[in-house]
Symmetry: D2
Subunit: 135 residues, 4 copies
């Protein structure tokens, strides 16, 4: 397994009329969390795109267990639980400022050649980094 | 079953660097689509909140089958497939401008008293409207 | 002068904790409104980008005169008041559902070659359309 | 004058089809920057709202001097240049990762009683904090 964690401050623009973090914003935190997990492994998602490979999301699941409020400093834990082949799955746990588990998420991503828009295999460099760091 | 459909123009602000509708924006279309389904039944979500009842999302699933591009006029079909008790489930199908099924989604929502933040039962008026229109 | 108007429903995702349309979302309505003004003249902003010309915003001003609330059907009036040279200026007036002027905005946009990222002149086709429709 | 600075990572969800930070997202950075400036002075905007006072934006200006790209670590410098009376003005300078000045912004905010929606004077505590820290 590979894991990492990162904190984010919840901003006014992300809070809805009920005073909760809007359910559509969790995807943004997932995105930032998985990119930071990659960065912590020495892998840059930006560089991957610069080299012509993108990682579109093909599936997402999210359970909203507890509301998250304005100005909370939340913690996102991100996991890769399986060495990926053509699909890479990230798992997320979001904790509110009181360390209550507020959200559980999961996203599946594939790899595409950004010029041809065709699916490609997991880039070798990423594969090696994941294998090396997996435990 | 209850169903409805609504069209939306995809805007620049919703498109990501890959040129695709960003995966985090689908939740916004789901929200607008279920509110419009309610409106088509003569039920106003706004009025529900004004009367002190909110409908937070407790679970979401989404499958991204086909990219949606800038300026496409998309069609969202929304379904209530089961008469709800304490949870109401909406199903969504999003078609791109060429009528290709681009996304399938599902959201579960509950009902809360916005003052006490406690769960409440499905409001009677909504229950009746759903029962009357269900086929 | 060239002008047009378009209506939008204000969505839950756009409303902030105060219950108002979040001040950062007005830019999105400006964007949609100017693209629709172009469309009403028979000019497609999407096609312009497909042909390699983009229109980045270089300046924006906005005055928030009156709050806009959830679920309101707002009206955006958009104006081109001067035949553009290298910069095109759009003016916006947003009216809430009670026809109260809620926001006044202004954006300046330029034209860039999306491959070279260099400024280019106003595309001839757009120039002709504006001149033809100007009164 | 009062000033502060804060860094933000630019996320995928904030980048548009041109590859630039979408012009409508700058308002979000302004919001986060001014709240952090307050926090650095020992003043919590969240607490202000909890006590029933909100700070709606009444005017915004923004000049987009240089595009900001995906994954850049940007720096926002925020200034209060004048001791506020009923309106508080924040000035912003956003620098891209290469320390190029990419954006200049300005927002005016007022103070409202969140229950009555009526304008109120600058809260005394905030006034004192600003006066104490002004130089």
């Amino acid at each position: 397994m590979i894991s990492g964690e990162i904190k984010f401050r919840v901003r006014y623009s992300q809070i809805d009329k009920m005073g909760y973090l809007y359910y559509g914003r969790y995807a943004n935190f997932y995105e930032a969390a998985r990119v930071e997990l990659f960065r912590s492994l020495g892998f840059s998602y930006k560089k991957l795109e610069d080299e012509g490979i993108g990682m579109p999301v093909v599936s997402m699941k999210s359970k909203f267990l507890h509301p998250i409020m304005y100005d909370e400093m939340i913690k996102v834990k991100t996991y890769i639980k399986k060495i990926p082949a053509s699909i890479i799955t990230f798992h997320y746990e979001i904790f509110n400022e009181d360390e209550i588990l507020a959200n559980i998420g999961e996203t599946d991503l594939t790899f595409v050649n950004l010029t041809t828009n065709k699916a490609v295999r997991l880039p070798r460099k990423l594969q090696e980094i994941i294998k090396t760091n997996f435990d």
